[in-house]
Amino acid sequence: MSLAPLHLYLLLAAVLFAIGLVGVLMKRNALIVMMCVELMLNAANLTFLAFAREQASLDGQAIAFFVIAVAAAEAAVGLAIVLAVFRTRGAVNVDEVRALRE
């Protein structure tokens, strides 16, 4: 069995997704956890674009466009929450933020 280009792109996306997942599960710094979420979103984007190229269809690229827009919104709101939590708790460690009110 030979590796088609599609396989390589999909494998790269899988590796990127796994690296992001390891970061989300392992890191305790909320900012780095958010960066790893961005990595996972980009892995999904890479899969969309690889299939769009394979099928010669622009639908995948349109979806990738929406993913980028949603990721930007997610980053803005997520970082605002990190900032608000830091102001009230003085912590960016996700382990220390475990109660809604104390």
């Binding site: 396989h7 970061g23 599960l25 392992m26 960066m35 980009n42 690229q61």
Partner: protein
């Protein structure tokens, strides 16, 4: 582009991409992690060009490497953690389980991917992936989602200001 040239370019961009992505996870200092992520996004934009997605590659650099990462760096510097505040990483048993789970997930994904039979690529049109072609798809077929996205971004901006501001 010939298949060989595509593969060579793929590895030239893909190997640094994986290394920089790993750098995000390995770095202790959030600034180093952010810089590593910017580099990873640039490599990824190159791979998008390889996939004939020029508009998306451009947006990747503009939105991700530009706007989102500047936002990240702003927050890192607003919080301005000194060395004494750097989050101590404790590697506990649950985290080991998490890593093992992620490795297992990769193995399952790779197994599923390699199970897909490679088919001949559809030939692409000359304007594939250009602003004109993708824009035509966005404004015809995906007009409603496009407008919904603008609403989502507006809600996100207002939400971010409301959450981050101390007093309104």
């Amino acid at each position: 582009m010939s298949p060989t040239a595509e593969m060579v370019t793929f590895f030239i961009l893909g190997v640094p991409l994986v290394l920089f992505a790993a750098g995000v996870v390995v770095a202790k200092n959030p600034v180093y992690a952010a810089m590593s992520l910017v580099a990873a996004f640039f490599c990824l934009a190159g791979i998008y060009v390889l996939l004939v997605a020029h508009l998306i590659a451009f947006m990747q650099i503009l939105v991700y490497a530009g706007a989102v990462m500047v936002l990240f760096l702003f927050v890192i510097m607003l919080i301005s953690l000194g060395d004494e505040h750097l989050v101590e990483e404790r590697y506990r048993a649950m985290q080991l389980v998490g890593v093992l789970g992620a490795v297992g997930l990769t193995a399952v994904l790779a197994w599923a991917i390699l199970d897909v039979a490679g088919v001949a690529r559809h030939p692409i049109e000359p304007d594939f992936g250009t602003v004109k072609a993708v824009g035509a798809v966005l404004f015809r077929k995906y007009l409603l989602p496009f407008e919904a996205t603008s609403l989502l971004l507006l809600a996100a901006i207002v939400g971010a200001v409301v959450v981050a501001k101390e007093r309104i």
